[in-house]
Symmetry: D2
Subunit: 327 residues, 4 copies
């Protein structure tokens, strides 16, 4: 494999900050978007002590009512805590938080005490995860990748699935936090970036399904078979709630409101291709997905749910352009 990460040498592992009494932890939480907000709520409900930061301060205010402290900067959220949890949209946002960007503002990483853990839940590139592991290690801090599988509804209902990787002790330290937000956890490696790889792989499988539905429904529609009739048979065959959900959205062309928007879907497709290049693996379906998502973003549909990636197949088949109003 090209670009493989070095394993962290055992003897360089820093000591974990001693755990807070009573099982509850002091947590910095950054990123209160669609996914971050319900996760933060679940952590508060589980009894943890949060200081939250969000780029747009309004979204943070609702958490004050639940007892969270509002931080005025990423760095402030990182002061005097045991675990820093981040949940933002991409590499760029995470880099800005951790390493800073504004000259008049300290980066969060500078405030983290040695022994604290950064648990990153964002879907980021493998390269970014490797860099974070390296940089935190140099400062005697821990880095854990803990991206999640599931959409907003699953986050609200504590039904996410967490993919975790990082130094074993640090992963264990974060386990109560993961448990407070999910129905289960898969620990896949001691190298943090591999959790991100698994997350990228799951999103690839979802993206492949979206494109597959797009192609199959176009074939049905143009041949005179109702997509919903076809979907019924598919659902009887696959018996998957994911198929039922995405299949229904695509067959009925309901792409609003967006649970996860197509621009992010395109970003993930590009992460897949980067990971494939990194590992030296041809992935022709990833290429097809990237092209379809790119096409839809270029057509101005980037803010629809990523299920709208299926529209590229319809367009390319010359099917009419009308779309149902969002619901």
């Amino acid at each position: 494999m090209r670009g493989g990460a070095r394993a962290l040498p055992e003897n360089r592992e820093p000591l974990l900050v001693k755990r807070f009494q009573g099982g509850f932890m002091k947590i910095g939480f950054i990123g209160l978007g669609h996914m971050g907000a319900p996760i933060a709520h679940n952590l508060i409900r589980a009894g943890h002590d949060l200081r939250v930061y969000n780029r747009t301060r309004d979204r943070a205010m609702e958490f004050a009512a639940e007892g969270a402290r509002i931080a005025n900067s990423p760095a402030e959220a990182a002061i005097d805590i045991e675990v820093l949890v981040t949940m933002v949209s991409d590499d760029r946002a995470l880099r800005h938080i951790v390493f800073g960007g504004d000259p008049d503002q300290r980066p969060a990483i500078a405030e983290l005490r040695p022994g604290t853990v950064h648990m990153s839940m964002s879907t980021i590139s493998l390269e970014m995860a490797r860099e974070l592991a390296r940089e935190h290690l140099e400062r005697g801090q821990y880095y854990v990748s803990a991206p999640v599988v599931g959409r907003v509804k699953a986050a609200l209902e504590r039904k996410l699935w967490v993919i975790a990787a990082g130094p074993a002790g640090a992963v264990e330290r974060c386990r109560p936090l993961m448990e407070a937000t999910s129905r289960g956890i898969s620990v896949v490696s001691e190298e943090a970036w591999k959790a991100n790889l698994v997350k990228i792989g799951v999103n690839f499988a979802l993206a492949s399904l979206i494109e597959t539905f797009g192609e199959a429904f176009s074939l049905m529609e143009k041949s005179g078979v109702a997509p919903l009739d076809f979907l019924h048979v598919v659902n009887e065959s696959f018996q998957s709630p994911v198929y039922a959900n995405y299949g229904g959205m695509i067959a009925e062309r309901r792409y609003e409101p967006a649970g996860f928007d197509l621009r992010l879907g395109l970003k993930d497709a590009e992460l897949t291709i980067r990971a494939a290049e990194d590992a030296g693996v041809p992935m022709p379906i990833a290429d097809v997905v990237r092209n379809s998502f790119e096409e839809e973003v270029a057509a101005g549909n980037g803010r629809l749910d990523w299920a709208a990636g299926a529209e590229a197949a319809r367009r390319n088949a010359g099917l009419e352009r009308t779309r149902r109003a969002g619901g």
Copy 2:
């Protein structure tokens, strides 16, 4: 759509042969392979009176013990019956049975009385289904396409799902037969070929999944993540028995014994592409699948289970060639 079939004019519909007393039917059954045999058993168990034909006579003999009569030719299986059921591997085999091929043997279609129904359960081309509908209609007979979703195990357990299409009365006449072999039926059109299109679409979705697993597992394996660890997360996400089944086969590289072999999978991929051309729909994932399956067949793996189509991705990633012994 290019090549669309004409709808059958109402007034040309022949009268159905009067139904046998007591709800049980006289059935000709041709094709006792992996899928056909359990279906025939289920029809006998449901009380129907079968005369069975198979190209290799040995496979037919076990049905005599259950009370079926053994026919010595396709034509003999078509004499004095209400419904002819056929379940063979491809267009060529079905053409040979229905229209004949040996100069010294009558084709089955010549023996069918007006008003009888041909219920074809094979996965065949749209063109073949249209031709059958046309030819039977000209002889005052009915043609129903009733391909099934499910593998051998589902057939044994009466858990297939039937996709049915054809003239409404003829489909109803066949309903007891479909019910005797399945857990449910989707009637998708009065044009028989559309059932075959839906079946092709379902197989396309399965083939897309096989290729997707092949690419994702190769990415994981070459990056140092165990495919089974990745599969665990995928299964938590999709919660589909089909994912669990195919994912397990591919992650463990168990491709024998073949439930449905790769040569047939390649045939289905080519049917998908033909249907896409016919309808004027670009289907890039179907192309990827076709190429991978073709590659594996060219590498000599055509008799493995079609899940082995996933091996193309491994080969192209340069992963080692060892394979688990079949089990």
Copy 3:
């Protein structure tokens, strides 16, 4: 290879019709379209004696002035000749001419004397070429495939290149006709269908170039580099008149008048894919080309020059839809 043709057994070869005195031949010529008309003119100019047939009789009349006899049916063009030359658009048209279709009209093949040669210049499927070889052989006639490379301008200027295959004696008999219309001849096999395969391969290379230009120009245009500036460098690199010609058409988006229209280009792409399936060869670029051409035909551009296949890449990149007026 699946579907490979049997070689014709030497001893079954029929005797060639004795050649006309003086080197000039009596020729039936069917198909006076864009390509057929200049070829027919060149044959007349070379001194041969033509009886011409065209579906729309008007186009045939201009040949009367040059001394050709006008036939009223394909069969009439096949009476009392040495070589039947056909140049039509696809399998369907050729099948209609050779084997008939109207119940009140004799097919051309029924009029050909034993020993005459059918020299087919159309781009047809391998299957069609094999069937023609078989059917003519059964009647003691010869079949030669002689598709040409070059567009209308090359046909007018006698600058086509002929790809010939068939029984050696029959190919030699046709050589003066090929020479009268071309700047050179490649004899590639004694099996006629292989000339069609080579022609399909050349058109595949051209189609690949069209798609390549489409993608590269879209990349340049969307990045702010003028396609013509890029093309200048490409031309310096490849130094090919074909690149200059197609590159110029695509960079300037001149797709009218059509020298060879996109519907025919799509047909050829499908012939390539059929040949690839037949031989068991994955051809992912052929798939890409098929999809792009299909997309443009579905968008209503089937009557533009096939260079317009490059527009699919523009559309998919979200580049604006305006198009230069034809010139």
Copy 4:
């Protein structure tokens, strides 16, 4: 376009170092590989005064005999010159030279006087070119991208074609150097990275041709037509020395010695895909090329000429593995 470069503001342009008397220039030249060496020779022959640096010092020594001074480090080659010419294999190598990497060694950029020009002839990423333009500008230096089209033989014979972009005055300053090594120059933009984009586009066209030959020859070979017979017709059609050259290499499977190796070809394919992502353009043929090249590199053929990318198509068609010895 995402990531588009800002145009350099006119008023921030630094003054060019005053030109050396007599038309000859003092040049630092870094990178004496297959392509760099003949270019350096041609510059010396044209009368310029070179100080050369190469990572492996042996290759530099031959230039001493021609009057060049040997520099012991990249920085040393950058002292007291008018133009720094670099010709290395990729971003990483160029970054190391310009910005340094060893703690005990000064980077070249630190030695360049304000007003000097860096003329970079390597095939690098757009991002790298933008970064170089930015960094040189900040130091009052000029950056010109001047990648070339042509292989080693063209370099030896002064038959390269130069693609140049950068601030107009700086490009003019470099013109005598470009003229000394090429048969012509295309100036495509005042933004340096656009020359790299054009170069990437030309290499994409070449890579597309390699894959196209791979697929077409596999189709011919598996169908029983000699690839060289097919190539003959292709050459008559395209009349391009590039087709004759690459077509001959691939038809005869001559991939050694490598003029430009497949690992570099894969790097260029990845640059194409990165540029496509950057601009928001789907490029499915670039994806196919990337996958085939990746497959061949994974199979251990990365050091063969990049024409060996065509072997992926053969492998996938199941054609036998023997290869001609290099010649």
